[in-house]
Symmetry: C2
Subunit: 141 residues, 2 copies
């Protein structure tokens, strides 16, 4: 199994792009998030870990990471910002958002893909991908 670093480096080589210290720092940092994160959070964490990369570089690198398949990019509700999740986390590509705390819970369910296929078919389309977000309220125990 290839490490994220190897995957990213080979992605960059393919595109004749460079593996700079900034890109390495960003790659290391995103692997530490235990949940989907925003660009701004990554920027903060970088500054705290005395690595450095400007806002512009963070956005440019996130774009490459998404293209390389290492990150999933997600959009929620009315929030204007993107969320990113490390693909290697295998937490799932669908999400439940806690209506009270805003917590994002990734999950995976084969039933969703199945349903997508059937529904797309019914409408005369083939299923390419989907976006699925459940807004839920935590059950009191």
């Amino acid at each position: 199994m290839e490490s994220a670093q190897e995957i990213f480096q080979s992605f960059l080589r393919t595109k004749r792009l460079k593996y700079t210290p900034e890109r390495r720092a960003i790659l290391e940092n995103i692997q530490q998030f235990r949940r989907p994160f925003e660009a701004e959070e990554l920027l903060l964490q970088l500054r705290q870990s005395d690595h450095r990369a400007s806002k512009a570089t963070v956005y440019r690198t996130l774009k490459h990471l998404v293209e390389s398949g290492l990150l999933n990019q997600m959009f929620f509700g009315a929030g204007k910002q993107s969320y990113y999740d490390f693909a290697g986390s295998s937490r799932g590509h669908d999400h439940l958002v806690d209506i009270e705390s805003g917590l994002i819970v990734p999950f995976e369910s084969p039933e969703v893909s199945d349903l997508c296929g059937r529904l797309a078919d019914r409408l005369g389309y083939s299923n390419v991908s989907h976006r699925f977000v459940i807004i839920g309220r935590r059950k009191s125990p």
Copy 2:
């Protein structure tokens, strides 16, 4: 069955807001869209139908219409803008987006709500609502 106009007027009264010519023009225009639309499209259509309302008023009124339940507000992929769909259209609250043309096809399926309930439950939540978008490619006939 109450008309959209009656619903909006009574919503406004409840909130001690006013039923102005601009708000009436906007309400009339949104009922003519046969598909989800953007704020900018509404603005254009208003200008063509020689009604008038500024961009600011359009956004302010759309917000009230969503709050009143007459419009559904939706967000897709990376696009920064909101889409709105007249709730009375009964076209459904889930959507398929044609990956090539960008066409948005609303649909409704009880299987989706069922699945939401089951999945939320499985994660320890109760289902409040959901957002479901299928990205599809039109099948050649």
